[in-house]
């Protein structure tokens, strides 16, 4: 399978170079953008939201006279949530449809199949939602519109220190889970930067699949933290919250987007009240750009946009803005313009760091009376 992907990639370079040069000279009347997402398969709902958002962004730009007088054309391809299929459609977009840039795709494993093809063809790519750090490590043509997971730990620490006024924090996480561990490590680093060395009074792991957290919690509570950072997924968070409250912890708890499930309140009940978690976006965010987007999307598709739609829209906006600023449609110019981006999009103000990951704001959601309520937006 790997050999096949490589073969396709080499083919893409060979054909892409030849045909690409021929196409450039004729000066096309429209700019063709590739869009990729899984509209069928295991992540179908993710793909549909993403595709809706791409189309909406393209339609808006076209209604606004396109880019430099040229109309935009979106060629959408379904990757089916499958890496092999992903490699095929990326190649097809570059070779047959001669796209100048690709926006996609949703799942990290598929983006990892598409990214080397874009990189070797010199076509800039931006993934809306692939959080795996490896995606942008493929090369300097690969960007993403979402923050990578551990970044949430940084934001969580800022929120705990600045907004909750915590002076001492403790963290508890699943030591067998990279997501949870990464978040907690970033939380610790940022909190100690803000509160000084020793301000994280306990930093404890637990086994995957365990249900008893009392040993760690008893130790944590003996150190009297003001805030407890729990970077696990919701099913563990609910149990940890219950046991922490049982052991007498009354302070706030903070976590990441692993909390984002109705089951958190179903299992955790009153124990998860006074809980806060970081997320990419909230439809309740009061900033005008968010409310405007929510209104337009809801009017067009009959449902409020989820995080995937928002990030899909933002990824497309970032790419189109870069093409506009580049003034040209060759890969290198678009890439350089994208690198220099500093743009307010729905999910926040975006700049790219050296690894082409966005540095941007996150929203804080509070669990209040069993419901998720938008609390605030935290800028890094």
């Amino acid at each position: 399978m790997k050999a096949y992907t490589k073969f396709v990639a080499i083919g893409a370079i060979a054909l892409g170079l030849g045909i690409g040069m021929a196409a450039c000279s004729s000066g096309p009347k429209e700019i063709v953008i590739g869009g990729v997402g899984p509209v069928t398969g295991e992540a179908a709902t993710f793909g549909v939201s993403t595709k809706n958002a791409y189309e909406m962004a393209i339609a808006e730009w076209n209604a606004n006279k396109g880019i430099n007088g040229k109309q935009l054309k979106l060629v959408f391809a379904d990757d089916k949530g499958d890496p092999t299929e992903g490699a095929t459609v990326y190649t097809k977009l570059i070779q047959q449809d001669k796209v100048v840039a690709i926006v996609g795709t949703v799942m990290s494993k598929v983006s990892l199949a598409g990214a080397p093809i874009c990189q070797s063809s010199g076509i800039p790519m931006i993934s809306p939602t692939s959080t795996n750090p490896k995606v942008t490590e493929v090369g300097d043509f690969i960007f993403r519109a979402c923050f990578i997971d551990p970044f949430q730990g940084t934001v969580g620490a800022q929120f705990a220190f600045n907004d909750l006024g915590a002076k001492k924090a403790a963290a508890l996480f699943d030591s067998g889970n990279d997501y949870a561990k990464g978040l907690s490590e970033f939380f610790k680093a940022k909190f100690e930067e803000l509160g000084g060395a020793g301000s994280v009074v306990a930093f404890e792991g637990h086994a995957s699949g365990t249900t008893d957290f009392k040993a760690q919690l008893t130790k944590i509570l003996a150190a009297k933290p003001d805030v407890l950072y729990v970077s696990d997924y919701y099913q563990d968070v609910a149990l940890i919250a219950k046991q922490a409250r049982e052991l007498g912890f009354k302070g706030p708890m903070v976590g990441g987007d692993g909390w984002d499930s109705p089951d958190l309140v179903k299992i955790g009940g009153a124990a998860v009240e006074n809980g806060f978690f970081t997320n990419h976006y909230s439809a309740e965010d009061t900033r005008p750009i968010v409310q405007d987007f929510v209104k337009k999307y809801t009017a067009k598709y009959g449902a409020a946009p989820d995080a995937l739609a928002t990030l899909g829209y933002d990824a497309m906006t970032l790419m189109l803005d870069a093409i506009k600023r580049a003034g040209k449609t060759d890969g290198k110019s678009i890439r350089d313009a994208l690198k220099a981006a500093d743009l307010a999009v729905v999910s926040g103000q975006v700049k790219f760091d050296a690894s082409r990951n966005p540095v941007k704001s996150a929203v804080i959601i509070e669990i209040k009376d069993g419901k998720q309520v938008y609390k605030t937006t935290v800028n890094p």
Partner: protein, 301 residues
């Protein structure tokens, strides 16, 4: 510091009680039929689901409280016993006098069957469920330790069942017959003991204990799912081996030792999950393979 120590002691006793109830079934079945019943952790899971069903069937009539909790306990024990007896009759009995390995592999099969059947069964499904508060929770502070009525219930049920089991094994004719079968099956048969019915009784008791543990774990750690028995089952198995597999007081002792090991592990080296539990298992197997209270027995021919 005093309150932290008191709290940790309570934590160990609570976790140890749940391990003990599971470990007893492991050790009893091994003692009688020399079978490591890997499906035992899943009997525990069945008990938790039975208790869950009892709550939703009777909550409207009785309401949460002690009577409902005892009804749930009784029916969870019956449920655990029933699934243990069924496993014995359908899976283990036909292989009784076949090579030991057949039964062992069958036990793994029964375990996987229960897990996957429950997760495929539409009424249960693979996702987690919150376990209801069958008993309204109350908190007490004793010596600076926070103790809920669930802790007291866990300890009380485990202690009662363990004392009851010890009495049954030491003082009743059924217990005498069980001890006889565990020592020498053939001689027991010659003495007029119905070996198969003693084996059935052992599975029933072991299953009932696992069912009780299922209810207690559901209450204490209110999240149930079809794979919830795997980790506690493994820990209870280690506890049984540490105490001396086949030895009833050994299983109780092993369970509390293992809970203490887990607690120390999670308190001091929490990022190395379960390290101490498995180190203890390796150490016991190297130094004293028969376990702390186990007796050395020559293999019978």
């Amino acid at each position: 510091m005093g309150s932290t120590l008191a709290q940790q002691i309570i934590n160990v006793l609570q976790l140890g009680s749940i391990y003990a109830l599971i470990a007893l079934g492991y050790t009893m079945v091994y003692g009688i039929v020399r079978l490591i019943n890997f499906a035992h952790g899943d009997f525990f899971m069945v008990g938790a689901y039975v208790a869950y069903a009892v709550f939703y069937a009777f909550n409207a009539y009785i309401g949460a409280g002690s009577p409902l909790a005892f009804l749930a306990l009784a029916i969870a024990m019956i449920g655990g016993a029933a699934i243990a007896m069924l496993s014995n009759q359908l899976a283990y009995k036909p292989l009784r006098y076949k090579p030991k390995l057949s039964s062992l592999v069958t036990a793994i099969g029964v375990s996987m069957f229960l897990e996957y059947f429950f997760s495929a069964f539409p009424l249960i499904g693979p996702s987690q469920r919150g376990f209801p508060e069958i008993l309204p929770k109350q908190m007490y502070t004793i010596f600076g330790a926070e103790i809920s009525n669930y802790v007291i219930l866990d300890l009380a049920v485990a202690a009662t069942l363990m004392v009851g089991l010890t009495f049954l094994i030491q003082k009743t004719s059924l217990g005498r017959a069980m001890r006889a079968v565990s020592q020498d099956k053939d001689a027991a048969k010659l003495m007029g003991i119905n070996v198969e019915s003693i084996i059935t009784a052992t599975f029933l008791i072991g299953g009932a204990f696992a069912g009780a543990a299922g209810l207690l774990a559901g209450l204490t750690y209110p999240r149930i799912q079809p794979y919830m028995g795997i980790l506690p089952g493994l820990k209870a198995f280690i506890a049984a081996v540490v105490g001396g597999i086949g030895n009833v007081p050994g299983a109780m002792l092993g369970a509390y030792i293992l809970a203490l090991a887990d607690n120390i592990n999670d308190t001091y080296i929490s990022q190395f999950s379960n390290l101490l539990a498995f180190l203890i298992l390796i150490a016991i197997l190297l130094i004293r393979p028969t376990g702390i209270l186990g007796e050395k027995t020559a293999d019978k021919i």
